[in-house]
Symmetry: C2
Subunit: 437 residues, 2 copies
């Protein structure tokens, strides 16, 4: 209960109901916009508390630059579009405010915008880091007489969200990766006798192997599938890897593989294609290529044909193949955030709590944003087999409920009925502000 | 009318109806097994002509090795599986017979198998080259007193089938690539303001750019999308490419791209990652990497974040997202092949003839296998814009009907209900034969 009562401040608050600001930040998921729907629907149910609903175009950068759109009266047609829309419908930024002591101008600017639009509630659908920044902004405003409640809304395909059973967005990426590997493996099986014998699929995951676990779901359809799962958590051992491929070649004639993009050797070096680094990146290694590298390694060692795939953004944007369970998790994350505001909470994040397994029963509870800020949960040991190259039944039991259910989408002319959405901006009331660092 | 009457031969033919052999060869498509259904259903409708129906496991290699399965009484359940099954359900080989003068033993072996199983009809669902081999085998058998009718059945995602409006399998790959690029581009759009500004998707196509054309379909949903399409038919010009990216950065802030894996520069060198060649391959260049290369080129030139994806087998195995039109084309290809046999034809291939455009009305006609054998039609000039980096309206008009319609598939536990199918083999009646070259 950090929320401050308006009566403590000297700026008069005109009405009991105040305006809402919703914004998105960081890498999208295939179901991110379901959270926007949850926020919009839930706030509209409580006019006594919430008046207008704005969305910032381009996250906190859009707040600074006053690129806001009014979504209070969004048409049913646009709401329908949001249901199937990949990406961040309101555009997401990879941009965080500086620490307040380094750049107080930024904070004063946000305050100006919040005062101008009478923002009383700020729902930030971003990564942990950006949500903590949002809370600091809200606190800054509150301390200066403009009380703002800040609630985070979780989303990430990476599943590295502490204190939550899983993160909204993860289940759909898992469903997509498992489906893609299953289909490709059946293709591989059908050709292995005289052609390709090894196939590697590269999953996202710089430091954590949650997405690579998806491959383990193949065992539901093919219990004896010759599968290797390489997670970012386990150092890559070339000799053991090649020995396992050899074992599958001997017993099954082929081998399929899923690998975290962030796979490293025992010395901590990424397993990746040489010369692929983008030269301008100084403190950031552009990943992508581990599947190619493994594929070439196997081809050269066994003198056989191999293939590899790198779905990259496809795995987080595949709105044509989302998990209905995951979609509901994202939708209810938005609603849970609004409920937290209704309950008078501030600086919290809804996370998923499991009430019962088989079938999975879950609900949202809230935790302090600060509690999850710097954590990046890795795949637990009990999800990875002792040899470090397969998943356990515990991992499959964990994953299965998250991919359940399909969502039918609209097709027009044979393609999903989606396109970048453009929203009418509010006329600017403040002087221009250019948000560059 | 090359078919020979049984009365011309001295091996007695017991009945009027004779047995059928169906086999698959070469790279699968997402709808290949629909052709198998077409063959099985259509032959069963004509018991006066066709008796037992066998499928070779592993194409012509399976014929040599006598790995045959009886599909005459295939259960409704397995037929249902075939409808959604990616890959080659009966396993496909990349294996062709030697010329008869080099290896007559192989031909004698096929004759032995055909006589043993009284094969009178051979339906070969493969690439042009393998179908011509099949015809030669059939002719060899007929000349030696065992008349065999050979009919090809087309399939390839590459669309390089001469005399046909398109090839079965192409429409589904186009639908998958266009959907994937559309979704990824919306994700890119939503982040471009502060993050990734360029995304490249690598389509299959060693010598032809038919699959890369799929990107052009984005214009149906987003007429002003900043899109670059690079086909294998046009030499890559780095300066012009970077200038077009710069133009889109200036006008739209981002750029999306689809590229043929076989893109070459003006000197005929593949645009690909260095050091990716599989060392054991002597006469064959392992492709894959042009999207990475373009992505790095743009990142280094513009000092910006870029991404790339290589769907590889995913684009030909995605049975969860096939085009209903394409599925029908594959299904009817199987039926048309059987109809050709009923009509007394031999050494022919059904190809798609267009009767009317808008809406597309098509039917199968047959052409001589020899007529299509060595042809590899490239994308016509009128489908590519003058700058060589975009598609024309004519290309979009051509592609659109091929991706129309969706096919619902069965899901179990959140995944498509598919797995490698295993068929019971006929007990071997002949001595062992090992088909190695």
């Amino acid at each position: 209960m950090n929320k401050q009562s308006p009566s403590q401040n000297d700026i008069p608050v005109k009405t009991q109901s105040r305006n809402v600001l919703y914004a998105q930040a960081g890498g999208p998921t295939a179901v991110l916009n379901a959270s926007a729907i949850g926020v919009i629907e839930m706030t509209k149910r409580h006019p006594e508390k919430f008046d207008k609903i704005y969305a910032a175009i381009n996250g906190i950068k859009g707040v600074l630059e006053e690129t806001l759109t009014d979504v209070t009266g969004l048409s049913e047609c646009i709401m329908d579009c949001l249901r199937d829309q990949p990406g961040a419908a309101f555009q997401a930024c990879r941009f965080d405010l500086d620490p307040v002591e380094d750049n107080p101008t930024q904070y004063q600017r946000v305050l100006d915008v919040f005062v101008t639009y009478d923002i009383g509630y700020f729902f930030y659908n971003g990564g942990n880091g950006s949500m903590v920044t949002a809370q600091k902004v809200a606190d800054y405003c509150s301390e200066r007489g403009h009380p703002v409640t800040c609630i985070g809304i979780p989303k990430t395909i990476d599943n590295d969200l502490a204190h939550s059973h899983c993160s909204p967005g993860y289940g759909s990426a898992v469903k997509y990766l498992a489906t893609s590997l299953l289909e490709s493996t059946i293709d591989l099986y059908s050709m292995h006798n005289t052609s390709t014998k090894f196939f590697a699929l590269e999953a996202m995951g710089r430091n954590v192997g949650w997405l690579a676990l998806a491959g383990g779901l193949l065992k539901l359809q093919c219990p004896d599938v010759p599968l290797i799962v390489l997670t970012a958590e386990r150092p890559f051992d070339k000799a053991k890897f090649l020995a396992k491929v050899a074992h599958f070649y001997d017993t099954k004639g082929y081998c399929t593989c899923i690998v975290s993009e962030g796979l490293k050797d025992a010395d901590g070096n990424y397993i990746k294609i040489e010369n692929i680094e983008h030269t301008h990146l100084k403190d950031y290694v552009q990943l992508g290529g581990v599947a190619h590298t493994l594929s070439k390694m196997v081809a050269d060692h066994f003198t056989c044909k191999t293939h590899s795939a790198v779905p990259d953004y496809m795995q987080r944007a595949a709105s044509h193949l989302v998990s209905e369970t995951d979609w509901q998790m994202a939708y209810r994350a938005g609603k849970a955030a609004v409920q937290a505001a209704l309950d008078g909470k501030h600086g919290v994040l809804p996370v998923i709590e499991v009430i019962a397994h088989e079938p999975l029963v879950w609900r949202y509870k809230t935790v302090d944003l600060m509690e999850v800020a710097d954590l990046e949960p890795t795949v637990p040991d009990e999800f990875i087999t002792e040899d470090g190259m397969d998943v356990t039944q515990a991992a499959i039991d964990y994953l299965l409920p998250l991919i359940k259910g399909e969502k039918s989408i609209r097709y027009v002319n044979g393609l999903p009925d989606i396109h970048p959405l453009k929203f009418e901006l509010m006329p600017k009331q403040l002087t221009e502000f250019i948000a560059v660092k």
